[in-house]
């Protein structure tokens, strides 16, 4: 009877201290993150006051307050001057407007919540629905772009002609603004009867192949001369050297590139939605928001895109960890 609790107490106390240690470590790691978030939110809220001051003053006047300046005068004043002239009005109306120039963080969060959790996924007002529409071409474009990037890199590493001829073109391709070339891709493909998913995917691929090519060229050239000599002493074929030495050496570089590429692919898919005046997708949300001055919708679509990009990068990071661990490269 008496020794049962005596046996149990140390067990639970060990577990609780272990748990406690883990929690305290978690909090410890969380502090800097929270601090940065708090700083960003603080700057954001502060910026809302002068950005929205003109509208705040107008709203105050409409509500019956008499201000020393007229709306016409305020139009030529900087936001900060309006705040100095009417601090009370500017402050009271800064964070609650329907169409603010700069929505406050909580307004964006509320809109995000409303359009993701509160709406059915099939609803056209659901951000999850629109993100899903954009995700299709993103993933297809990422796959095409990564594959093209890897193949180009293999060609560049193995052929001197390709090394000298392809790389300048690849670099040139990235100096052309994607906004200029996206409508042309869509129009040209549309004229040969291709529309919908594929044109957007091609714009994604256009943005995502480049980091993969650059990273893979570096990675395929990572083996030391001694590593390559070893293959030569075994009379290994070029294909063998690629498969058994160059490709495994390049994997850490590949994953770093894929993270950049997947985020670029999402940007490409969003931009691909803009010139067609699309009605579905994250790009369409941005476009509709800017047509109707729905700044909160624009910002929440932007954050939605950022969250999707972060999720995609996290998936690649997970793949990276699993792969490198299985290869014995992670220690």
């Amino acid at each position: 009877m008496t020794d049962t609790p005596a046996l149990e107490i140390p067990k639970t106390s060990i577990r609780s201290t272990r748990l406690g240690r883990a929690v305290s470590r978690g909090i410890h790691a969380l502090w800097p993150v929270l601090l940065v978030i708090a700083a960003v939110a603080g700057i954001w809220y502060a910026a809302c006051i002068p950005m929205n001051a003109a509208q705040s003053a107008l709203d105050a006047e409409r509500a019956g307050a008499t201000l020393s300046t007229t709306a016409a005068e305020r139009r030529d004043m900087a936001g900060l001057s309006v705040v100095i002239a009417h601090p009370a009005a500017a402050l009271s109306g800064a964070f609650t407007q329907d169409r603010p120039r700069l929505p406050a963080p909580h307004q964006v969060v509320a809109e995000l919540w409303d359009t993701t959790v509160e709406k059915k996924i099939t609803s056209k007002r659901s951000l999850v629905f629109h993100a899903g529409i954009t995700l299709g071409p993103t993933l297809l474009g990422f796959a095409i772009g990564s594959l093209a990037g890897i193949l180009l890199a293999v060609g560049i590493v193995y052929s001197r002609v390709m090394d000298l001829s392809v790389m300048p073109w690849a670099i040139a391709s990235q100096t052309i603004p994607i906004l200029a070339i996206a409508p042309m891709i869509i129009v040209v493909l549309n004229s040969v009867g291709i529309q919908g998913l594929v044109p957007k995917a091609i714009i994604s691929a256009y943005l995502s192949f480049f980091p993969v090519t650059v990273g893979m060229v570096k990675g395929l050239r990572a083996p030391t001369p001694a590593d390559l000599d070893l293959m030569r002493t075994w009379n290994a074929s070029a294909l063998r050297t690629l498969v058994s030495l160059r490709l495994p050496s390049s994997l850490p570089y590949l994953f770093a590139s894929l993270k950049i590429a997947v985020a670029a692919a999402l940007v490409g898919a969003i931009i691909g939605e803009l010139p067609t005046g699309a009605v579905r997708g994250l790009g369409a949300r941005l476009l509709a928001g800017s047509y109707y001055g729905q700044t909160i919708q624009i910002w929440s679509a932007l954050f939605g895109a950022a969250i999707v990009a972060a999720g995609l990068v996290a998936v690649i990071a997970l793949l990276e960890r699993v792969t490198l661990k299985r290869m014995g490269l992670a220690r």
């Binding site: 030391t224 001694a226 000599d229 030569r232 075994w234 009379n235 058994s244 495994p248 490269l329 220690r331």
Partner: protein, 259 residues
């Protein structure tokens, strides 16, 4: 007696560099009979590694003739006549020790069962049989170098080329590996070419010591060792050993003065 394992006549190798030509090898002539253990010793730049790389067909001589197993070095390379051990172990970090050892066998198209058999055999030979499933970073430097020797032995080539394999290891590990290497050589009787900076190492291991000197890289002395094939470590304190070491040192000094 059969044809020499390696035969070089008036071998020349000149590298064209930005600072003008560099004579890495000048007029090198040497016959190495089957089954010998030959050390190449000399200061940096004397061409000992270059000579080894010529034998392995990793460099092409600019003059003279060189035959390996009675054929051109490149034909010998394609026929997999030699195993090469580099100064760095050069194990691929994404492969276990066992998989590193079987890599050349995979490349040579040897069936899986045979690969496993040979892997176990050579890993036992270098006393790493318990480490087949470890990754290279889990092993010490000396163990990694033993694994790389096992890899060079795995496909049972008649010639073993070793380029300062123990150069990066400390004296104690080096002594032990020297002893093991000698035992290994006694068992397999492979023709071994061994590049080193260390006089005791060269004298202890070799049946033939080739002393080289730099600018241009050339042979200054070839010493046939009178030491018996069986050599305990303490043979290094005998007068015969010291006499050979002395002659090697003299050869090195003469080469430096001439240059």
């Amino acid at each position: 007696m059969s044809a020499p394992a390696i035969s070089a006549h008036n071998l020349d190798l000149t590298f064209q560099t930005g600072d003008g030509p560099v004579h890495a090898l000048r007029d090198v002539s040497l016959d190495i009979p089957d089954g010998e253990f030959v050390s190449f010793i000399g200061p940096s730049g004397c061409g000992k590694t270059t000579f080894l790389r010529c034998v392995a067909a990793l460099e092409t001589p600019t003059g003279g003739t060189l035959t390996v197993s009675g054929m051109s070095p490149d034909a010998a390379r394609r026929a997999r006549k030699y195993g090469y051990v580099f100064q760095a172990a050069g194990l691929y970090p994404w492969r276990t020790i066992g998989k590193n050892v079987t890599l050349p066998l995979e490349i040579m198209g040897i069936p899986r069962a045979e690969r496993a058999h040979r892997r176990d055999e050579v890993l036992a030979l270098v006393e790493l049989d318990k480490f087949a499933n470890k990754y290279p970073w889990q092993l010490s430097g000396g163990m990694q170098q033993r694994a790389s020797i096992a890899r060079a032995l795995a496909f049972d080539a008649p010639i073993l080329l070793m380029d300062e394999p123990f150069g990066a290891l400390d004296e104690i590990v080096r002594d032990r590996l020297n002893e093991e290497l000698l035992a290994l050589w006694a068992r397999t009787s492979k023709t071994t070419l061994f590049v080193t900076h260390s006089i005791p190492e060269a004298v202890y291991l070799s049946t033939k010591i080739v002393v080289m000197s730099p600018r241009p890289g050339r042979i200054t002395d070839v010493i046939d060792s009178p030491l018996p094939r069986h050599r305990p470590l303490d043979i290094r304190d005998t007068p015969e050993f010291l006499a050979i070491a002395h002659r090697v040192r003299e050869g090195l000094r003469d080469g430096m003065q001439a240059a």
